[in-house]
Structure formats: C-alpha cells, structure tokens
C-alpha cells in the first residue's frame, strides 16, 4: 500500500498574525511554523494503516526550503520518505496542480490531506486534486478503514450528520478529528528522520487563479460590558434591547 500525505507548513495556532507595513504580505517575523494540525490527523492515520497492512508513507509539501524542518518532523513521526516541490505556493489551484503531477508519476493507493489549512482556510486542495486526477475525494472524513486490499470505508461529515462511503482505491480524502490521535516524535524517530530521503523536485508549469492583493485585521472589540452575577437576568434584556440579537 502506497500512501501519500500532503502537509502544509503553517503558523502555530497561538501565533499573533501581522502583516508587512503596506499590508501586502504576511509578516513571518517571530512566527513559529508547524505542520498544519489537520494534516497531523492524516499523517498519523496513514502511519497506522502502514503499520497494520504494510507499505510506505510519503509526505509531500509544495513550498520553499523553510518548510523542511516540518517535513523532517513528519519523517520523525513515522513517514518513510518525503518530496518537496520547490515553489512558492501561490494559491490553492497551483498547489493542487503540483500535488496532482506528483501523484500521476507515482500511483499512490491513497492520498490523504488535512481538512483545511489554518492559514489560508481554503478547504479546497483535496477536492481539486481528486477532480484533476479523476478519482473520488471524500472530505472531510473523520474515520478511515480498509475493508480489503482494494476498498476503503470512510465516514464523512456533512452539516447535521454523516455519510458512510465505500470506495475503491485509489482515492483522495481529507482528515479531521477524531480520525487518529496525533503522535509526538520520539528520540529514535528524530534520529532516523535525518537519514530518510527528502527529494526536492522543481514544479511543473502551473497557474495561480487567485491573486492576493492585501490583508487587513478585524476591528477590535470596543470592550466588554460586565453584568453583576446577582442580576444575571439583566443580560437577557441587554441582549434583546441593546445588542438586538434576541
């Protein structure tokens, strides 16, 4: 079983988000980058499937060299090898084209991603890749099991419920919790990760279809109005008469 896990390199969840003086680009100063949290669910599930059934787990990132520490981290967690497509990931469409190109060369049985990146919040790369490859994309899935060597059973979240889907391999799926319990790399993993192959490839011709022009931040709240716990009921009338939300 050959599994591809696509990982995105994103600001840590506790990051304060700032932009350059002209508001035209994200300011990376002082920001810690991590593997996108949703992608960790995908990665761990891939490793669990490999442990149960045999095979390989390859991680793929479309990005510049500064993503390599997190690619190594994925290797330390248990992936076997890695590919970095050496390009500035301009938008989701461009990223999807790069992932599809790698997938076409390598015949993966399963392509796993996270539900969405926590920086650009696109929720789209997985479905684009599925469409580009002409294979099913099941997203977001919170359960993934193999029924036999050629069939998987997934549970997918929809608003207000879930769908149970059985598909033939190959397919694309995106992960959300509780698909797996993300792992922390151990010492042995960190040591072996250093010697695992990380292949850097140049991008195929691709096209961005969205042009990020500028950024802004939400308006600050004007401050909190405190209500005395003894008169808690007053909150309800404020919500109706002042905030007008009831």
């Amino acid at each position: 079983m050959k599994i591809l896990v696509c990982i995105s390199n994103v600001p840590d969840t506790t990051s304060k988000i700032n932009f350059s003086g002209d508001n035209k680009s994200f300011d990376k100063n002082g920001v810690q980058f991590v593997i996108n949290p949703w992608d960790e669910y995908a990665l761990t599930r891939a490793i669990e499937l490999k442990e149960a059934k045999g095979g390989t787990v390859t991680v793929l990132n479309v990005g510049e060299a500064d993503a390599e520490p997190n690619i190594r981290k994925a290797l330390a967690i248990g992936a076997d090898d890695a590919i970095r497509v050496n390009a500035h990931p301009k938008d989701a469409y461009f990223v999807a084209q790069q992932i599809a190109a790698i997938a076409k060369q390598n015949n993966y049985d399963i392509i796993l991603m996270g539900k969405e990146s926590i920086d650009y919040n696109g929720f789209q790369v997985h479905n684009m890749v599925g469409e580009m490859l002409g294979i099913p994309s099941i997203t977001p899935a919170f359960k993934l099991d193999l029924v036999d060597d050629s069939t998987a059973r997934l549970e997918r979240e929809i608003e207000g419920g879930k769908e149970v889907v059985e598909v033939k391999l190959p397919f694309v799926a995106s992960a959300q919790q509780p698909m797996s319990e993300p792992r922390i790399p151990n010492m042995r993993g960190i040591m072996t990760a250093r010697t695992k192959p990380l292949q850097v490839v140049e991008p195929v011709a691709g096209e961005a279809k969205a042009d990020y022009v500028s950024y802004s931040k939400p308006e600050k709240k004007s401050g909190v109005k405190m209500i005395d716990a003894e008169n808690a009921g007053e909150l309800i009338s404020l919500l109706r008469n002042e905030a007008k939300v009831l």
Binding site: T13, Y93, D119, H126, E157, E159, Q177, M226, L235
Partner: protein, 326 residues
C-alpha cells in the same frame, strides 16, 4: 451571461446559508447588470424554491432525482456544470458549507475558474477587476483576493451578510436534469445518518449558539447548556477537551480544529477562551462570557461578561430567557 447560485435543502426547506448565498448572487447580478438563477438538487419543496424570488432569484433549475436526496459529489458537479453552461454563468455562488465548498472546488477545475471560499463581502468590480474579501488565518485576518479567471466561483461565509428581501415575486421553477451515469455514483454514500440536532437547530446554521467548557465539570450538568439553548432557540456547542473527554459528541466541538461558527450571538459558559477556541468563534457578532475567574482570557474577546459560578448564573439566565415574549 448570468449568475448561478447553488441552494441546499435541509428537511425540504432551503438552508439559511443558501438564502444568504441567493442574496449574494442577486446582488452580484445587479452589480453586473444581469439576472441570478438558482439550481437546486434533491429533496426541496417546490414552494420553498419559488419563494427564492424574495431574494431576487428569477428562475430555479430543479433536479428532483431522488438518488440525489443525499450528497453525491460527482453527480452534483455534473448537474451544476450543465446549468452553468446552459445559463452562460460567469459567477457561481455557493454557501461555504462542506457540500458547497466541495462542489465549488471541483467546478473550479472542471470550468477552469477562480475559486474563493470563506468570502465575506460582495466583489469590487471597478476597472474590470473582481476582488472579494475572504476570512483567513482562522478568523484573525481578512485577505482581498482578485479572481483572475473568466469564471468566478464564490463560497460565501455563513452569516456574513443579511438575507435580503428583494420582493420580486415568485421565481419560476423549471425541471432540470443532467445525463447521469454509474460513473457519478462510484463514491455515492452507502448511508446518510442524520444526528439528533438539538431542537432542530443546526450548529453551523444557528443564529445563536450556547457553548459549554470544562468549567461545567461533567456531562451530567449539560442540562444547563441545553435548557438555555432551548429557551433561546439556540444550537449547542462545546470546547475541544469536552469532546475529547466524551462529555459531548465531536460534531459539537468548535474552534481552530473543530467547527468554525459565526452566529449573531455566542454564549460561552465555563470556557477559558484559549486562542485555539477563539479562532473558531471570533467572527460571532456578539460574544457573551460566563466564567468564575475574572482573569479568564475570554473576557478580552467578549462584548458582555458575567463573573460568577455557572451553576448560579445560568439558571437565572434560563429563567429570564423563558420570560421573554417571543
């Protein structure tokens, strides 16, 4: 050229988020000097479709194929792509739901279009551009994005704009279908299981959300959250540890790694307000925080706050909420 809006049904009615998408579609059509057509698939009442006229929709293409009462991605894509072609649609509008974003992403590939999800504003179209604002960095920022392809696909963030009543009478409803083959059904769900949605209010669609954290001590105390939610017609939610501890189901977990919600009113009870929690709720219009610790970080993100023990405060709120005339 025209604008095409995909509307989703739920229990035969049109979802609130789809009425927002219809409003958006009509307003873009006005900007571009054209009309907005809707496409609906599966089980939706025809009178609900005709009522889309209120949002300014002039015509609805309706595919009532009962195999599509559940979500079958490839079939939905084929139907909507055909509708887009027939209507010569240059702008396609979806709600930013799991279904809308999935279909929108696949159509971006099939129609060679530019896609923006999580969109919060109408486009700026001066000078031949098409620039929309998206919510990014988990609600911590906005980005202005120029969509550069001929076909533009937009998934509108929930509760980002108010449903308008354009009052232009009933929309005409036309039967519509695409030639579906077995190929579109290879990944069709075997089964669709709907949850018991707390009093019929879907969390992602709710105007009011009452949410509980670890401060509530245990699942046996959730009647406080549920009773307040019921009195306000709200959906219920929870923090991540509450779902991890199995006090509540995972589909109620909101935050950076859970569901992102943007209701008009979010009431947080016994939740500390960790940055990852805030990332999923910070675009709520009004935030109320009830916490016994005056230093809880959530108060900094709140509009109204009560410092007190939830076990004393919430019963008072329930009583006051029940006393409201509807």
């Amino acid at each position: 050229m025209s604008v095409l809006v995909f509307v989703e049904g739920f229990n035969g009615e049109i979802k609130k988020s789809s009425l927002e998408a219809a409003t958006y579609g009509y307003q873009v059509a006005q900007q571009l000097g054209t009309t907005a057509t809707a496409v609906a698939i599966g089980e939706v009442h025809e009178d609900a479709l005709a009522k889309l006229g209120e949002q300014g929709i002039s015509k609805v293409l309706y595919d009532a194929d009962s195999r599509l009462n559940q979500f079958v991605a490839d079939a939905y894509v084929k139907v909507i792509a055909k509708a887009a072609q027939q209507e010569n649609a240059k702008v396609l509008v979806f709600s930013n739901s799991n279904i809308g974003a999935a279909v929108g992403s696949k159509l971006a590939v099939r129609l060679n279009g530019s896609l923006a999800t999580n969109v919060t504003t109408l486009p700026k179209t001066d000078g031949g551009q098409f620039i929309v604002t998206r919510s990014v960095f988990s609600g911590k920022a906005f980005a202005d994005v120029a969509l550069t392809s001929d076909v533009k696909i937009i998934a509108v963030k929930k509760n980002a704009l108010e449903i308008a009543n354009a009052g232009s009478g009933a929309a005409t409803v036309e039967k519509f279908s695409a030639d579906l083959t077995d190929a579109e059904f290879v990944a069709a769900p075997k089964e669709t299981i709907m949850q018991d949605t707390s009093g019929g209010v879907l969390l992602t669609e709710a105007e009011i959300v009452v949410s509980g954290g670890r401060g509530l001590k245990g699942p046996e105390n959730w009647h406080l959250v549920e009773d307040l939610a019921k009195a306000l017609g709200a959906a219920t939610a929870c923090s991540k540890p509450v779902a991890d501890l199995d006090w509540r189901p995972h589909h109620e977990h909101v935050g950076q790694t859970g569901i992102a919600v943007s209701p008009n009113l979010y009431i947080a009870i016994g939740i500390s307000g960790a940055i990852q929690h805030l990332a999923g709720v910070n675009s709520s219009k009004v935030i109320v925080v009830i916490n016994k610790d005056p230093e809880a970080p959530f108060f900094k993100a709140a509009d109204y706050g009560i410092v007190g023990d939830a076990f004393d405060v919430v019963p008072k709120l329930i009583e006051a909420a029940k006393a409201l005339d509807k």
